[in-house]
């Protein structure tokens, strides 16, 4: 079973939707969810084999394009498939009383976003990464502007403009790489990148940083993120914060480790991540719009992941992967519950939580926020503990202090939200949840608690994943030397 199906099947589904419409109103919805379930099983079976694998496309690397399956990329593929499956199950419940207009288009965009995120993670050719960069981008622009309200259109317009500028700089970087190194294959490039003089490395590094920086939401380039989160539908925000950002983060650090293993720019990246976390948490204090608060908290957590991963040690990468998992699951839970709250109460202010009357959603909010804070017995604790340990072990005590202070600030506005949840005011009517939505919430809560209480459950898998991520030597000779 080859890993091409992750990209080929959603594309086939997208192109064949006019035919699927023949099978009645729910034809497209059930076909899409069934396909995602099948791909999730494929991801599980591929993840079981922990050895490296090369999936050749049209001709053998290093001339052709190929997918590389190692511990790290399979961890991300598994995470994305799991979250997208839960998202689809949740939406199946939601669409009964509040379907999206033009629903077939929504399912096509959903699957294209999934296919391109997985393509970004698996691809080993830098121009192929640019093409997936664009596919993920363009489906995200349309998803954010889907409701066609002035806010949504403004969000889509801003996201599109920053995306176009980012892709112009990224293409400029790729052009320079091909002119001076003669190849597009990541393995060949990682072997010959150090031969470049320092100023060319600086220029290419700067261009790639700006190209990916917009999408990785790092400090100087993330002015557009909160407007997009507030403009888009909360259902779409859950996809942005748990799948799309993580795919771009993985690609950014995958290229950084391959091109510049002990890079002279690492301290600068570390600082950018720490400042981005601090700035996001502080601004989040005075926000009253629910979506905007959790957008800033996503920015903060992404800044933390960025800082940890730029330490480039195996333990730091493992910590980063733990935080990625905990943050994605928690943010998916939060934004899905936000969707139910906003669809029921029609207002996005924090004060609406006072009139919320739904034990399930309250429990989801509390568990996710505790996990984001890194409280023991929850998934976030393992990641944050390892992160602080790796900061300390590589002597970055200033960044350690910034991260601790930012987590303190973060806990302040989480308690503010918790206060509204448990406020004494009269409670509105009980929020009705479809059975599939209840199932999704309970699975997410179970994931947070299970991983928090029993981290040994999958720390072996993550250890192998982080080792694969840092082990660029095998990556290099795998492609050029021994083929499958």
């Amino acid at each position: 079973m080859s890993s091409i199906y992750f990209v080929a099947l959603p594309l086939l589904f997208g192109f064949a939707t006019p035919l699927l419409k023949r099978f009645g109103k729910n034809g497209v919805a059930y076909a899409s969810t069934a396909m995602q379930a099948a791909l999730f099983l494929l991801a599980l079976n591929l993840a079981a084999t922990s050895s490296w694998a090369v999936e050749v496309i049209s001709i053998n690397p290093p001339l052709g394009i190929s997918f590389i399956l190692n511990g790290a990329s399979l961890f991300f593929v598994l995470l994305f498939m799991l979250l997208m499956l839960l998202f689809s199950l949740y939406y199946l419940g939601l669409r009964k009383e509040e379907p999206f207009p033009d629903e077939n288009k929504f399912f096509i965009l959903l699957n294209m976003l999934l296919a391109s995120s997985i393509g970004l993670v698996l691809s080993s050719d830098i121009f192929n990464i640019y093409v997936f960069f664009e596919i993920a981008g363009i489906s995200a622009y349309i998803l954010s502007a889907y409701r066609k309200t002035p806010k949504a259109l403004e969000a889509g317009l801003k996201y599109l403009l920053t995306g176009m500028v980012a892709s112009a700089f990224l293409l400029f970087g790729i052009a320079l790489i091909y002119i001076h190194l003669g190849s597009l294959n990541l393995a060949v490039l990682s072997g010959s990148f150090h031969t470049l003089p320092f100023n060319m490395k600086l220029l290419i590094g700067l261009l790639l940083f700006v190209g990916f920086g917009f999408k990785v939401e790092i400090f100087p380039l993330n002015f557009w993120v909160t407007d997009v989160y507030e403009g888009a539908d909360p259902l779409i925000d859950s996809l942005f914060s748990s799948i799309v950002v993580k795919a771009y983060l993985f690609v950014f650090f995958h290229i950084l480790y391959l091109f510049m293993p002990a890079s002279p720019f690492a301290p600068f990246l570390l600082l950018a991540g720490a400042v981005s976390m601090l700035a996001a948490e502080i601004i989040a204090l005075k926000q009253t719009n629910l979506k905007r608060v959790f957008a800033y908290s996503s920015l903060g957590q992404v800044g933390l992941i960025f800082a940890v991963l730029s330490l480039e040690s195996r333990m730091a990468v493992e910590a980063g992967f733990f935080i990625v998992f905990a943050h994605s699951v928690a943010k998916m839970a939060i934004f899905l519950s936000l969707t139910s709250v906003i669809h029921a109460h029609k207002s996005e202010e924090i004060s609406t939580l006072k009139t919320l009357n739904s034990p399930m959603i309250t429990v989801t909010f509390i568990f996710s926020m505790l996990s984001l804070l890194g409280i023991p017995l929850f998934a976030g604790f393992v990641g944050k503990f390892l992160a602080l340990k790796s900061f300390a072990s590589s002597g970055e005590f200033l960044v350690l202090g910034i991260v601790l202070f930012a987590s303190l600030v973060e806990s302040i506005y989480y308690f503010k939200i918790a206060g509204n949840l448990f406020g004494k005011g009269e409670r509105g009517a009980k929020l009705r949840l479809a059975p599939s939505q209840k199932a999704v919430f309970s699975i997410l809560i179970l994931l947070l608690v299970a991983v928090g209480t029993m981290p040994w459950l999958y720390s072996g898998f993550l250890h192998n994943a982080s080792a694969a991520m840092v082990d660029t030597a095998t990556y290099a000779n795998l492609l050029t030397g021994g083929l499958k």
Binding site: A8, L11, P18, S58, I65, I138, H180
Partner: protein, 234 residues
């Protein structure tokens, strides 16, 4: 932070701009003397000699880096879908008659443009051109009709059948390559060099480029019609 207000004022951005500009120019000029690096393209040129295709760029676009073109088709498909979603105007309102010259000229020009578009698409692997260029030329032919003939409307049913057929067959060609050669988008059809000049001489390459042309043509005409139709409404 608001999108535009925070970008520093004109003078400051001018200064930052020129600093970056000097750095880039200095870097690139300094490097332009670097010895001619051995590029992957030369190896692909040798390979494309054996593919039986005269246009090396087409063999790279469709076969060697065929996955990029599949991604490219996905981008265009999503763009057409998004524009259809955004500009979904109602049926074409009564459009005032365009002037006489345009009507007569377009009747004369339309077959030429379509013929040229089909030629560019089908001969993509022998002469410059191919699926993308051919498809867009056909779309500009349809654009000419949309402008000149007020009541003309792109037949939505025909276009979506063409589009679906082209998209599915492209992915199926890829999957057949996966099953036959264990390489997605592998060239499973015979492509001997002897018949270089013949129409179907490059194995799957001409097939794929014609399918790409049909898809690009139908999508571009949908985009063009949505843009024109929307602008008639107010």
């Amino acid at each position: 932070m608001n999108f535009k207000r925070d970008i520093p004022s004109r003078t400051y951005s001018g200064f930052a701009l020129s600093a970056l500009f000097i750095l880039t120019i200095f870097n690139i000029l300094l490097e332009s003397g670097v010895s001619k690096t051995q590029r992957a393209g030369d190896a692909l040129l040798a390979l494309s000699g054996k593919e039986g295709v005269a246009n090396a760029v087409t063999s790279v676009v469709v076969y060697f880096r065929g996955f990029d073109t599949l991604g490219e088709i996905a981008v265009l498909f999503i763009a057409a879908l998004g524009i259809g979603l955004m500009l979904h105007g109602d049926r074409r309102t009564e459009h005032e008659e365009s002037n006489y010259i345009l009507q007569k000229a377009s009747k004369l020009l339309f077959p030429m443009i379509m013929l040229f578009g089909v030629y560019v698409m089908v001969y993509g692997h022998l002469s410059p051109g191919g699926g993308f260029q051919g498809g867009v030329i056909i779309a500009s032919g349809i654009l000419l009709l949309l402008i000149s003939d007020g009541s003309f409307e792109v037949p939505h049913a025909v276009i979506s059948v063409l589009e679906t057929f082209a998209g599915i067959s492209y992915v199926l060609i890829g999957l057949i390559g996966l099953l036959v050669l264990d390489k997605f988008l592998g060239n499973f059809l015979p492509n001997d060099v002897a018949q270089m000049g013949r129409l179907f001489s490059g194995g799957i390459i001409p097939l794929v480029y014609i399918v790409v042309g049909i898809k690009v043509g139908s999508e571009m005409s949908m985009i063009v019609q949505n843009l024109i139709q929307r602008s008639d409404d107010d």
